[in-house]
């Protein structure tokens, strides 16, 4: 693969009489800029490939034709004039030409307030009423997108949106259509924007210089930046951790609009959730006062029909507060907090510390996570603390810790650019890590061979050079066969194996048993393809492996990850540019919440519970004796609640009723708890079982650090004031701890971060000051001068032997296979527009408008066989329950499979899923169980 090299040649040219020397390949515009000469542009944006269409930047290079300086490269001895009467008149005329059809009111002046055309008109002193030509009427508007307004009359056809869509986001939606005056930007084959394949990432509206593509108002009236307050923060959603600037109206305490902000991890890009999903924080259903369950609503049970499992009422995303609120009464903070502390303390005294447990959340900041686990460990006196990472990547982390001694990624996703080969497996990257996907798509378009392995043909598969559709749950067979080929054809890295690994012999013996022909019978990929792809992978100088929950959420999740790690070790693809292992993290702070110790078997920074020295370290730091026994994991805690061994729970921002497998069991378990305190921003399904509900703050209302999938620790800043009496989460933890007899007091998030980093060597040296503005990768030994360590383990692993360990594994089928009664395979996952249990995204106007109701996807051939079509209702039933929802035809889903997104409370996927666990990571098998499909009537 040939990647372009930066030129080392220097060319010298004269610009307006001044001599300028620049590297070869520099454009005249860039050269002039470096000499302090500004040339006006419209179609050019330094982030985009120059195209030279608007002709605003033309300069005289002594040729017949004036040259567009944004594209023309500087050459040796060139004489450039950037201004003259001729050039000035040309630019002025161009501006007039563009203004003749321009709408009287530019939507951009009303929105972000940075209309470049009107700015030029002001510079040239053009009075629009003097323009001698009547406007045409052929250029219309398109208001069909829920988030972006299209005004063709303001479009100057500068091509920026097209390049942003094609070359930054790689969505390939926008193009040009027509000729002459009829030239237009067009979505797909000239479809209305709202009906097109547009994914509403908003990159086009972000780069548009005029009023042609602008963001619609989502909260209070959108208006120019100068009239708003600017807060540099982060996206609250996924593990990509995009940097965002929020523009706030202080009077109404509202986010008005969001913009991508420069950061090495996201390069100003955003997806639909980050750009348009900010309004949930102002939703009227926000909790604003502490709530205590009324006497009459004991014994506890579900309150809303959806949680009761009844089918009635209109399908719809949001809980009807009329159904649930009567069960609670408002309380003062004093009363509520005293009650929580005394009930938890009572349980501890009666039944011992291990009858208590806490669920933190990967949505919380590092500080909140740290403090929460400290509360459970030092105050409750147990290690029964866990969070939703258990449900997404626990198996990946188990495998990584076992083999290479560290659970984090070994390289950042944007380094895919340096890879010859990228493998993406079990990851619907374009929907779940959209901005990370843009880097992968970009690499695939510029020389990196992309191999996508999945049971579903997802968005990223469309960019793949090799797409392998495997039978669900057959990953181990495929990877063993690939390794069989690599070893058989001697495509392995002997030096690397010798110097940096152990256990190769055992792996070689095991994979001998997996010739591609055998694997073909299990995973359905032709043996020839397995060989071809193995060779492509084996011959790469640098290969990087990305994986998602399609790998981890199986009873063989740890085995699947072990195989991927072995692939990388076998070929020496760790620790160099373009190589690495990258499990893509789900929530914005999955990495950080784990780093901070929200895990039952480790203290902060993965220091093991049960190791006396470690225990001593934390006992000294926290000043109390600690429980030497590792605690229970998420599903074990729920099982404990069901059995009655877990009696009291504190949940901070988790919603296990929707997120945990086998909801019918979870319902019984939650109802069985003696005491449950739920701290959240909305009254969640889980909160229906609570004795006390504490109104918390949303991401927008607090300071905190968050660690993204790349290990980048970044600061989220307070953008809004909390509603009503809602209080900061860390303060509530402190209050409960103090009321339970353990004084906790901090001046603010910064002080908590200080305590955390003092106990977590990987975070040593980081503070709020050096984390601004774009964060640091941990570890970062020299925060003053470096961005942190991008590549880990080039010189060995943090294991006792310093070597990476091959763990050979045999293929094992999933826990529950299809049979005559339940003939389909159920797979669960996410949609681009929604987030987890939907509490945030379904309360976001734009996101809800795009995907308003529960759907499942089936292959059109299967639908036809059942005489069903898109939009019909079906009942999906497993041995654990039934849900009713709409069906949508999708060729991406293989025949015999059903895909259900788990965001929808009215048809919760986890009523169906199997809570069988991976024995190592204790992660449930969300991605596989047997299901039956039957036509259903629409709900009444």
């Amino acid at each position: 693969m040939i990647k372009p090299q930066k030129s080392t040649r220097i060319v010298t040219l004269t610009i307006d009489g001044r001599e300028v020397s620049v590297p070869g390949g520099t454009t005249i515009w860039e050269a002039a800029k470096s000499a302090g000469i500004e040339i006006p542009v419209l179609c050019h944006d330094p982030r985009l490939r120059p195209v030279g269409v608007c002709r605003m930047c033309v300069v005289d290079v002594g040729e017949r034709v004036l040259a567009a300086s944004c594209v023309r490269q500087a050459s040796e001895g060139m004489k450039v004039r950037t201004s003259s009467d001729k050039i000035h008149t040309c630019r002025k005329t161009l501006t007039e030409l563009l203004l003749s059809d321009y709408p009287a009111e530019s939507r951009r002046e009303g929105a972000t307030g940075d209309d470049m055309l009107l700015a030029l008109a002001r510079d040239y002193g053009i009075d629009r009423s003097d323009i001698a030509i009547p406007a045409g009427d052929g250029r219309t508007q398109d208001m069909t997108s829920p988030v972006i307004a299209v005004d063709h009359a303001a479009c100057i056809l500068c091509d920026r949106c097209i390049r942003a869509c094609d070359e930054i986001q790689h969505n390939d939606v926008i193009g040009r259509t027509g000729k002459g005056y009829g030239t237009r930007i067009a979505f797909d084959l000239n479809a209305p924007m709202g009906n097109s394949t547009c994914v509403s990432c908003g990159e086009c509206a972000a780069v548009c210089p005029t009023g042609a593509l602008t963001n619609k108002t989502l909260t209070v009236q959108i208006r120019p930046r100068e009239q708003l307050k600017k807060i540099d923060s982060l996206c609250p959603y996924c593990g990509v951790g995009c940097a965002i600037t929020f523009h706030i109206d202080p009077d109404t305490n509202t986010v008005v609009f969001a913009e991508g902000r420069h950061s090495p991890g996201s390069e100003s890009r955003l997806c639909v959730k980050g750009r348009y999903g900010f309004d949930y924080a102002k939703h009227p259903q926000r909790l604003t006062t502490p709530l205590i369950r009324r006497e009459e609503f004991y014994p506890k049970g579900p309150l809303s029909f959806a949680v009761k499992g009844e089918r009635r009422g209109k399908p719809g995303g949001l809980v009807d507060y009329g159904e649930v609120m009567p069960a609670f009464r408002e309380a003062t903070w004093e009363e509520a907090l005293d009650l929580v502390a005394s009930r938890l303390k009572g349980i501890k005294q009666r039944s011992g510390p291990s009858a208590l447990a806490g669920f933190g959340s990967a949505k919380c900041s590092n500080e909140e996570a740290y403090l929460f686990q400290k509360l459970v460990r030092a105050v409750f006196g147990t290690n029964n603390v866990d969070h939703c990472t258990r449900l997404c990547h626990a198996s990946s982390v188990a495998a990584l810790l076992e083999t290479i001694g560290s659970g984090a990624v070994t390289n950042v996703f944007s380094d895919v650019h340096n890879a010859d080969v990228a493998v993406v497996t079990g990851s619907n990257t374009t929907a779940n890590h959209p901005v990370a996907a843009t880097f992968i798509k970009d690499a695939a378009a510029s020389g990196t061979t992309l191999i996508v392995i999945d049971s579903r043909e997802t968005g990223i598969a469309r960019h793949a050079h090799h797409f392998l559709r495997i039978e669900p749950g057959s990953d181990v067979a495929l990877y063993n066969a690939m390794m069989h080929v690599l070893i058989g054809e001697d495509l392995v890295n002997h030096d690397y194996i010798r110097d940096f690994t152990e256990g190769f012999e055992a792996l070689r013996e095991l994979v001998k048993k997996y010739p591609p022909e055998l694997a073909e019978g299990i995973c359905g990929v032709p043996a020839a393809t397995i060989r071809e792809v193995a060779r492509v992978f084996g011959r790469a100088n640098a290969a990087i492996i990305f994986w998602g929950m399609g790998i981890s959420q199986h009873t063989t999740g740890t085995d699947n990850a072990r195989c991927l790690i072995s692939l990388a070790l076998l070929t020496g693809n760790i620790g160099r540019a373009g190589t690495g292992l990258h499990p893509l993290r789900g929530q914005n702070n999955v990495q950080g919440a784990s780093d901070a110790g929200l895990i039952p078997m480790v203290y902060p920074d993965y220091q093991k519970v049960g190791e006396p020295a470690t225990q001593k370290k934390f006992e000294e730091a926290w000043g109390v004796p600690l429980d030497p026994n590792p605690g229970l994991t998420v599903v074990e805690i729920i099982n404990g609640a069901l059995k009655g061994t877990i009696k009291g729970m504190y949940m901070m921002g988790e919603n296990p009723f929707l997120s945990d497998p086998n909801s019918n069991k979870v319902r019984k378990a939650l109802a069985n708890l003696d005491f449950l305190c739920v701290q959240d921003i909305f009254l969640t399904e889980t909160a229906e079982f609570a004795d006390v509900v504490l109104p918390a703050t949303s991401f927008f209302e607090k300071d905190g650090t968050y660690t993204n999938s790349d290990r980048r620790v970044q600061v989220g800043r307070t953008a809004l004031q909390p509603p009503g009496q809602a209080r900061l989460d860390w303060q509530l933890v402190c209050e409960i701890a103090t009321r339970m007899g353990y004084e906790m007091k901090y001046a603010g998030a910064e002080e908590i971060f200080e305590e955390f980093t003092s106990l977590a060597p990987s975070y040593a040296g980081l503070d709020y000051h050096n984390l601004s503005p774009t964060g640091k990768l941990w570890p970062c030994p020299d925060p003053a001068s470096s961005d942190g360590k991008q590549l880990l383990f080039g010189d060995g692993f943090p294991t006792p032997s310093r070597r990476g360990k091959f763990v050979p594994v045999e293929y094992q089928p999933a826990a529950e296979l299809p049979d005559d009664e339940y003939p389909f395979v159920l797979n669960t996952g996410r949609l681009l527009e929604h987030w987890h249990t939907g509490t945030m995204t379904r309360r976001s106007k734009a996101l809800d408008a795009i995907e308003p109701e529960a759907v499942c996807e089936l292959n059109p051939d299967d639908l036809e066989a059942m005489a069903l079509k898109s939009g019909d209702y079906v009942n999906l039933s497993t041995r654990r329950g039934t849900i009713t929802l709409k069906v949508r035809a999708s060729r991406g889903v293989a025949p015999g499979n059903v895909f259900v997104p788990f965001h929808f409370r009215e048809a919760s996927a986890n009523i169906l899923t199997n809570d069988a666990l991976d024995p190592f990571g204790k992660i449930p098998e969300y991605k596989y169980c047997a299901v039956k499909v039957a036509p259903a009537q629409p709900p009444a």
Binding site: V51, G52, V53, C54, R55, M56, V58, R64, V65, L66, A68, V71, R72, Q73, T89, C90, T93, L94, L97, L98, S100, D101, A132, I133, P134, G136, I156, L157, D159, G175, R176, G178, K179, G180, Y181, G182, T183
Partner: protein, 429 residues
């Protein structure tokens, strides 16, 4: 003689067999001496062929008149990347219909020219990009390509020479701008026919990013004759700067419109009045466009010049593609120019602001002048827009659109003023 009009004063080289049905199939063509030049070429080296063409002084017939041999010499010889030949058969310039007739009557003349030229530039694949509306011509050309493959003039190891060439006929989809060479390349690649920024030029980065030569049909059709008979033979016609013969597609107000092939030192006035018979009886010649709608309009008394590139230029216009349009005194110049501008406004690819917006401004202003609603400021406005459209865009279509307007106002200003001041047309009924 079946072909509409012929004249003894013509010098018929390319058009010698126009009108002869038997010249279309390969056997008939071989009987007429076809493919002899190819044998000769394959026996020589590619660089020898380029040299002969250079020596002949052949200039591109697509409009710009760039020396063909020189253009070929820009092609890399190291073979690091595949080279391509693209024959521009998109002929869409208003008033131009010569390439169509070459392909209709003598398809093998073009194919032979493509093979020799490909050999000279070391291309192993040639494309003929042909205007999609030429439905019957496409059929003829496709048949001729099949025949050439059957006889071993195309394909592997052509005539035992060891040289391989494939030829693909690719249909355009109806845009004038696809005739601009880089627009053509984009269209060939399956993109919108939007002209590319130059540099890089096609010889550096052309079709599919590879070095490419783009030549017009008439240019390539002349190559076999030059290779067979030598550069000196070709130079017997024309001037030292414009050697050889050229086809003129003559239309408009003429008694005998059609294609005429004349030496490049032929007198333009003779071409109009003698060969084409001048305007219809009782009419006066008012204006003449000598080289397709993209060149400046001439008045009747400017046309006593020779038809060489430099001759017409000295007389104030350009040879262009050789599409001659005659206008007699029944013509409303405002209307004629407005229609030409509307053509360009319709055909602008829409990339450059000057061109996309400028053409539609010109059209709007001309429409109001034609309707008698013009204003005093309109003429300076037209000239001003014209000046800011020319020499500033990605391709010269923008210039082409301004040219007829500017030249008509300069030369027929009176007629425009009459429309503006009196709301009256000066055309003679």
């Amino acid at each position: 003689m079946a072909y509409p009009h012929a004249h003894p004063r013509e010098a018929r080289v390319l058009s010698k067999h126009f009108g002869e049905k038997d010249a279309i199939p390969i056997d008939g063509w071989i009987e007429r001496g076809g493919y002899k030049a190819l044998d000769k070429a394959l026996a020589a080296s590619p660089d020898d062929i380029t040299q002969i063409v250079k020596d002949s002084g052949l200039r591109g017939r697509g409009g710009a008149g760039f020396p063909t041999g020189l253009k070929w010499s820009f092609m890399p010889k190291d073979g690091g990347k595949p080279n391509y030949l693209a024959c521009n058969a998109d002929e869409s310039e208003p008033g131009t219909f010569k390439d169509r007739e070459i392909m209709r009557w003598t398809p093998h003349q073009l194919i032979e020219g493509c093979i020799i030229s490909s050999y000279a530039i070391r291309a192993k694949h040639a494309y003929i990009y042909i205007r999609g509306e030429f439905v019957d011509v496409v059929r003829i050309l496709n048949q001729a390509v099949v025949e050439a493959y059957e006889r071993g003039y195309l394909g592997k190891n052509i005539k035992g020479s060891g040289y391989d060439l494939d030829l693909t006929v690719h249909l355009g989809a109806g845009a004038y701008i696809a005739g601009e060479e880089t627009g053509l390349l984009n269209s060939l690649e399956g993109r919108r026919a939007e002209p590319r920024i130059k540099p890089p030029f096609p010889a550096q980065r052309g079709a599919f990013g590879m070095p490419t030569t783009v030549n017009n049909v008439e240019t390539l059709a002349a190559v076999p004759h030059i290779v067979l008979n030598g550069a000196d033979w070709y130079r017997q016609w024309g001037t030292s700067k414009s050697p050889g013969t050229k086809l003129f597609s003559c239309c408009g107000h003429l008694q005998r419109p059609g294609n005429y092939e004349v030496p490049l030192d032929f007198n333009l006035r003779d071409l109009v009045f003698d060969l084409c018979g001048g305007p219809p009886k009782g009419r006066q010649l008012l204006a003449l466009i000598p080289g397709g709608s993209s060149v400046p309009i001439m008045t009747a008394d400017e046309i006593d010049c020779d038809v060489s590139y430099e001759g017409i230029e000295a007389a104030g216009s350009m040879l262009g593609s050789g599409g001659l349009i005659a206008m007699d005194d029944s013509t409303c110049m405002v209307r004629a120019v407005r229609r030409m501008v509307e053509f360009y406004a319709h055909e602008s690819c829409g990339q450059c602001t000057n061109c996309r917006e400028g053409t539609s401004w010109l059209a709007k202003i001309l429409r109001r002048i034609e309707r008698g609603q013009g204003r005093e400021e309109d003429l300076p406005l037209l000239l001003d827009i014209g000046a800011n459209m020319a020499g500033k865009t990605i391709c010269p279509l923008s210039d082409s659109a301004a040219v007829p307007v500017v030249s008509a106002i300069q030369k027929f200003g009176r007629e425009f003023e009459a429309h503006i001041q009196d709301g009256r047309c000066t055309a003679v009924n």
